[in-house]
């Protein structure tokens, strides 16, 4: 079930909110919170089972296993050797689960190609959100092992943390330490709920009105016969994808954050106008922030970070970025995309850092955007071959113009321009109205209009993909 679907908006969400907010234990806030967690947990399992009921079993096994791991770790606080064993077992278990369901076919395919064998992996579909919830589970196990937080003694709050539907299938990746207290006690009020609704509508608008619209343009351009796309259209196409992936993913993150707020949670911000970044490092501090934080806290720093000399820092960066690429998908183009950023970050840090610093701010931003856009070619392609073909079109192998250039640009220019302005944060710079009442009224009208347009669009449109589902 997608957040941007009529079933979710008009059936699932209202029903869950109703059960969540109807108080059963007015006199006992602790029991009331337990009831709220139970409603949320149950709703999340239904939400997950909606698409793939079979994988609910996998999730429940993972939850129960890791819940016991936490308790086991805490039961052996003074036996470091035993703790280490438990910790290693837990990490291996979780990585094997992720590896089997996500990377096994990829590994088998590469192995059989390498040795010219005829082996085929079992055809098992990828459980939705497995990369996200496995990383959340790992964050819990690692934090408990490090003593950063206590093990969760109750199964219900732990299960709620892992399977909470607002962030279950597309993040943000919430680290256990950041949410532990909220699972026990959180403030739920009208103000927070309204802020959540606004966040949700904003995200829905980004997804339905922007990402879906511009995504259709990119899909149409890439569906053409190879070699028939001119340079201008190829650049326009990848710019459309650049906007689509941003609005798609940040829209979904906003919806998740908004839903979280409605249920009283505060999740971390996952995007902060990444296309206004003036360096690659800056870009990654603004794009999918929760994933960058996860890799920093649980891979880069434990590997030694930048504390063990230049050589080791370079190796650590390459490892982290290859893993980041691989996390996004079991295919070589994702690994290449990750390593591409790893290499660029190394170059930025050790080679060109001084040079780029001297550039004017606008030039740094343009340069960063160019690098990001080229990166999206690898990311969006189905294979290396496709990426190479598309890059070829971007340097003019299909000529400067093709027969459709004027039509494509003319028919899509207005929405494209609006989305560019939005992605670059121009709209947030509008002068704020002094009169609070007028501001509120305008805001209400604006959000109501966005919601109405989204609903109309959802009812009439069939093109509603979600790019980050495959992760």
């Amino acid at each position: 079930m997608l957040f941007s679907s009529a079933t979710f908006l008009f059936v699932f969400l209202p029903v869950v909110l109703l059960f969540y907010f109807v108080p059963l234990f007015r006199q006992n806030p602790q029991r009331e919170m337990t009831k709220k967690n139970a409603v949320l947990c149950l709703a999340s399992l239904v939400f997950y089972a909606w698409g793939e009921p079979v994988y609910i079993v996998l999730m429940l096994i993972s939850i129960y296993f890791n819940y016991n791991i936490g308790l086991d770790l805490e039961a052996h606080t003074f036996n470091e050797r035993r703790r280490k064993k438990i910790f290693v077992c837990a990490v291996v278990f979780n990585l094997l689960v992720l590896g089997f369901f996500k990377y096994f076919p990829f590994a088998v395919d590469n192995f059989s190609r390498l040795f010219s064998l005829e082996i085929k992996a079992a055809n098992i579909s990828l459980p939705i959100g497995i990369s996200f919830y496995t990383f959340q589970i790992l964050s819990y196990v690692i934090d408990v092992y490090r003593g950063k937080c206590r093990a969760q003694r109750k199964l219900l709050p732990f299960a709620t943390y892992i399977c909470m539907f607002p962030q279950l299938i597309a993040g943000p990746i919430v680290q256990y330490g950041d949410i532990e207290r909220q699972l026990r006690n959180r403030r739920i009020g009208v103000r927070k709920f309204s802020a959540g609704v606004l966040f949700f509508i904003r995200g829905l608008g980004k997804k339905v009105l922007f990402a879906n619209t511009i995504g259709a343009v990119y899909t149409e351009i890439t569906a053409r016969e190879p070699g028939t796309t001119g340079l201008v259209v190829a650049w326009f196409g990848i710019l459309c994808y650049t906007l689509q992936i941003y609005f798609d993913f940040s829209g979904y993150s906003d919806m998740a954050i908004g839903l979280g707020k409605m249920f009283g949670f505060d999740f971390i911000q996952n995007f902060n106008f990444p296309y206004t970044a003036d360096s690659i490092k800056d870009f990654w501090s603004r794009w999918h922030i929760s994933l960058s934080n996860w890799f920093r806290d649980y891979v880069y720093i434990p590997l030694g970070g930048n504390r063990k000399g230049t050589g080791r820092t370079i190796i650590n960066l390459l490892i982290v970025w290859a893993l980041t690429g691989l996390w996004h998908g079991a295919a070589w183009n994702f690994v290449a995309w990750g390593v591409y950023y790893g290499v660029l970050l190394i170059l930025e840090k050790y080679v060109f850092g001084g040079l780029t610093e001297k550039l004017p701010h606008w030039a740094k931003r343009v340069l960063t955007m160019l690098i990001v856009i080229v990166g999206w070619v690898f990311f969006s392609a189905e294979s290396f071959g496709d990426a190479a073909r598309y890059l070829g079109a971007m340097i003019g192998t299909g000529g400067l113009f093709d027969g459709t250039t004027a039509f494509v640009l003319r028919s899509n220019f207005f929405p494209f321009a609006v989305m560019c302005c939005s992605a670059l944060g121009f709209f947030r710079k509008f002068p704020k109205l002094k009169d609070a009442n007028i501001r509120l009224a305008l805001q209400a009208v604006g959000y109501a209009a966005v919601l109405t347009l989204c609903v109309v669009s959802l009812v009439s449109e069939t093109y509603n993909p979600f790019l980050y589902f495959r992760f």
Partner: protein, 156 residues
């Protein structure tokens, strides 16, 4: 052995069983597709249906029949009839999900179309069967879809 360790081992065993079941369920059946289809065909009433061509399959489901190892599609020529039968054998290693999604969307569209004025047809759509097993995808809209499922499972 601590109680936690026992529970952890139980989880690992359950996971292995789950994976094993998943792999066996998704394992390609060695049965001949025509035999499987014949078994399904004889299990339900198809007097109102007729075999459809490859281009009609493509029109209905958006996929090229050539992309699959076996396709047999029966539907009625009467536009007011929703009953249909489809059996597809997927090539080894192919993902059934895109076809399954397409079929689901087709059923939803039809259900919307017939809702309110054709209760009998809507009833058929409510009890439709869509099954992916052993490298096959079976889709049945019929008055006795369970018979088709039984015959299908037996034939695999």
């Amino acid at each position: 052995m601590s109680k936690f360790r026992i529970k952890e081992i139980v989880c690992v065993v359950l996971l292995l069983v789950f994976v094993l079941l998943l792999v066996t369920q998704n394992k390609q059946s060695a049965s001949d597709p025509q035999t499987v289809f014949d078994a399904v065909l004889t299990s339900i009433d198809v007097s109102a249906l007729e075999e459809r061509r490859e281009d009609q399959f493509k029109k209905a489901f958006g996929f090229d029949a050539q992309d699959f190892d076996f396709v047999s599609y029966y539907a009625a020529s009467d536009v007011m009839e929703v009953r249909e039968l489809l059996l597809v054998k997927l090539p080894e290693g192919a993902d059934a999900q895109p076809l399954v999604d397409k079929i689901k969307a087709r059923v939803e569209d039809k259900a919307e179309l017939f809702a309110g004025y054709a209760p009998e047809q809507s009833g058929y759509l409510e009890t439709y069967v869509l099954l992916s097993r052993g490298g096959y995808v079976l889709y049945v809209v019929s008055d006795t879809p369970d018979d088709a499922v039984r015959a299908f499972k037996k034939a695999l």
